[in-house]
């Protein structure tokens, strides 16, 4: 049996499509609404049965309590101390490396690039223990160094992303610059990098997100709670005897908002970057 594709049926189809999509969208968005609502509840309202969807009296004071009862600014400072070198390191090292893999012809280049791809799918847990022991011998445990230094030596995912983009820039640009007497580094810095701004923005965003959200790295390498990042700090209040859930939720909103702001400002690069990582082999 075949459906008539008259305008009436088309109309119903479109209607059903919208209903399904909006219902699904609601499922994805409700947890955010919930995070916000919980962060504004009083402790007694948190545990009410049945659930109270929106607090009776809005407790903005949860946010003030969060700043007072939790070393928020110290943890924020620590997070930023790790964040900035990570972004700088990611941009410098990965653009250079990707340039070597995309813009220069050399023997075995594609074979060596395979190693980059293999390290991309290497589970972190495989290298985690030897790295810990290595950093222990270097006396880096309990400092920010293990969370900063590796970012200056390339990240396979970023190399992959940048290479895909750099391959698409016409070779003629390099040739003509060479005829004008530019050396390879000048071509990299003056011609290719300015053209690669969109993909560099993507790398900046991902480096920011990766560090801001990182949990396992700080957990393993930072022993002193004066060095904790926001993520690790949030987890440590959860581990206390009587965690204050509404304050945790306020922290959750505070940690999520900067990410959302950056996302909305740079949405184009974000979506592009994600899409690019999957479609072109």
């Amino acid at each position: 049996m075949r459906l008539q594709t008259g305008t009436f049926m088309k109309g119903i189809e479109t209607f059903v499509l919208y209903v399904v999509l909006l219902a699904l969208a609601a499922c994805f968005i409700v947890p955010f609404f919930w995070l916000l609502s919980e962060s504004l509840k009083s402790p007694s309202e948190l545990f009410e049965v049945p659930t109270r969807w929106w607090p009776k009296t809005i407790m903005w004071s949860n946010y003030a309590d969060m700043f007072n009862s939790f070393p928020f600014f110290l943890y924020l400072k620590n997070t930023i101390i790790i964040l900035i070198p990570n972004i700088v390191g990611a941009v410098i090292s990965n653009t250079l490396i990707a340039y070597g893999f995309a813009r220069l012809d050399w023997k075995y280049r594609d074979n060596v690039f395979m190693i980059v791809l293999i390290t991309m799918i290497l589970p972190y847990q495989v290298t985690m223990i030897p790295l810990f022991i290595m950093f222990h011998h270097l006396h880096w445990i309990g400092t920010f160094l293990p969370l900063i230094v590796p970012s200056f030596f390339g990240n396979p995912f970023f190399i992959f992303l940048l290479r895909q983009f750099l391959l698409g820039i016409p070779k003629e640009l390099s040739y003509s610059a060479k005829i004008d007497g530019a050396n390879e580094f000048q071509i990299y810095a003056r011609i290719i990098m300015p053209l690669a701004k969109p993909v560099i923005s993507t790398v900046v965003i991902f480096a920011f997100l990766g560090t801001w959200n990182d949990f396992i790295g700080p957990l393993i390498f930072l022993s002193d709670n004066k060095l904790y990042t926001l993520s690790l700090g949030a987890q440590s209040i959860m581990g206390t005897y009587d965690p204050k859930w509404n304050i945790l939720m306020a922290l959750g909103v505070t940690m999520t908002v900067p990410v959302l702001v950056i996302f909305f400002l740079l949405q184009k690069y974000f979506i592009q970057g994600v899409a690019m990582s999957g479609i072109k082999g």
Binding site: V49, W106, P123, L131, I133, L209, I216, A234, M249
Partner: protein
């Protein structure tokens, strides 16, 4: 001829300069750790005291450790069921979003993507609340439809499905990648299929899925690796419980290494993980070659 050689040599030297940071990094932070980790896996090592060579003792102990098998089977549960659920959900949503003439596509794309932006610690805390048996909204909604929800994270049977729900919620990255893949499929294929009388599902199974298979492979590999590394959510939300039903491989490995300081034992686990991950990825690529349409 000689000049050409010189150019090739100069290009090679330049290339080595450009990728030198990567060469140092891959040796210092990947190759050396992997190799030395195999040595550690043959020792009894706890960082505080000197290591002692014990041959394959750690591996032997692992193969007699019920927790090792438990964490392995929990992880395979998630790889099989979790990957299937989140892949199916992501493809379905991407196919819906790929309809021509949908208004507000960019808005909807954002809606499905933003859960992946929430820091993992925050997402975990949030989901503990969403999954509360008495006043969590998931059971509240189930109750609205007359269903009694399970106790989720407190139940050995339902804790893993609870994590699958969370996994589907945060599959926005895959949705965006599928959507990009779908938009590469030429409309003309669908049009000629329509003329031949193919319905919606026929088109999905005969055109969309085969042409999307390289993208599906990419996402499945990413997802499998993600599950092997999956750690923060179970640590924060259940800490492996109840009854070790959410003790996943990485959590077990982390505990052995950093709570019990059995570094040698944990290194053996890491090496087994490496071998299993490589085997699974090889199988996936073989399957893709046989059934896929890869270029």
């Amino acid at each position: 001829m000689n000049k050409k050689m010189n150019i090739a040599r100069r290009d090679f030297r330049n290339a080595m300069l450009f990728i030198s940071l990567w060469i140092i990094g891959v040796i210092a932070f990947k190759l050396y750790p992997i190799v030395i980790s195999f040595y550690y896996s043959l020792t009894d090592y706890s960082v505080v005291k000197k290591s002692e060579f014990i041959g394959f003792g750690n591996y032997n102990a692992l193969f007699h450790d019920p927790l090792f098998y438990k964490s392995l089977s929990n992880t395979f549960y998630m790889i099989c069921l979790g990957t299937v659920c989140s892949t199916a959900a992501a493809i379905a949503i991407a196919v819906l979003l790929n309809n021509k003439g949908i208004k507000g596509l960019s808005f909807l794309r954002v809606v499905f993507f933003i859960p992946t932006l929430v820091p993992v610690v925050i997402a975990s805390i949030l989901w503990i609340w969403l999954l509360q048996p008495d006043n969590g909204i998931i059971n509240e909604v189930l109750g609205f439809f007359g269903l009694t929800g399970p106790v989720w994270l407190a139940s050995p049977l339902w804790a893993k499905p609870a994590f699958i729900l969370m996994m589907v919620w945060s599959s926005g990255t895959a949705i965006i990648i599928y959507l990009a893949g779908l938009q590469e499929i030429p409309d003309s294929l669908y049009e000629s299929a329509s003329i031949d009388g193919a319905g919606f599902f026929r088109k999905v199974f005969s055109i969309t899925l085969p042409l999307l298979s390289p993208v599906i492979l990419f996402n499945v590999v990413t997802s499998v690796i993600g599950i092997f590394q999956w750690f923060a959510e179970p640590l924060i939300m259940t800490n492996g419980g109840p009854d070790n039903s959410t003790l996943f491989y990485s959590l077990n490995l982390y505990r052995s290494a950093f709570q019990y300081f059995k570094m040698g034992y944990a290194s053996a686990m890491a090496w087994i993980l490496l071998v299993i991950a490589m085997i699974i990825i090889l199988i996936l690529f073989r399957l893709n070659k046989r059934f896929g349409y890869s270029e």
